[in-house]
């Protein structure tokens, strides 16, 4: 699953560490999320979307795979 976390993070000038702190997860998890190598739970996706002032639909690109 692709996502636009990196793009939104840059928009709000947040580092991976800052975003990780805001949603109480490891920076490593943000790295894997941005690479599209980890699918977050609905709760985490919601938390990230809230911090980045957007919606889950905007942030995550659901493809058929």
């Amino acid at each position: 699953m692709k996502n636009r976390i990196k793009e939104f993070r840059a928009k709000y000038d947040l580092t991976q560490e800052e975003l990780a702190n805001k949603v109480s997860i490891r920076r490593e998890t943000i790295v894997f999320l941005e690479k599209g190598k980890y699918n977050p739970s609905l709760k985490l996706a919601h938390n990230i979307a809230t911090v980045l002032k957007t919606t889950i639909d905007e942030l995550f690109i659901f493809d058929d795979e």
Binding site: E17, N21, I25, R26, T29, F32, Y38, K43
Partner: protein, 134 residues
Amino acid sequence: MKLRKDKDILRFLGIGLVVVLLGATMLIFQTHSKAVSFLGGGLILGGLIMFVMALYAATKPKTDLIVDERVVRINEKAGYNAGWIVLLSVTVLFWADKIWALNIELEGMYWTTLFVGTYSWLLLRWYYNKRSEI
């Protein structure tokens, strides 16, 4: 190498040190009882492990130690598969004992189980963390 010196790290280091000192005291003042000497040795070992763990944690940023949902998933998956590996190894040992009459004693069995379980869990955790897709 930069070490964190926050309250949690210092507390853990302190407890480790106290445990080591307690173990050393038991060893120094107790010369007759083997059980107390064994306990003292165990406390020293435990305290040293705590000390090393605290030092290791001090080298990592605080956010690298959070147990988030990804870590929970990795632990669960590694634990599940380690459980199957333990079951498989016990089954293999059981049948090998039956077929070739190896005379495996219960003590040997539980050391094997502990060894296989612990190391397979640690290895699988490392593997799933590297592989990233959980």
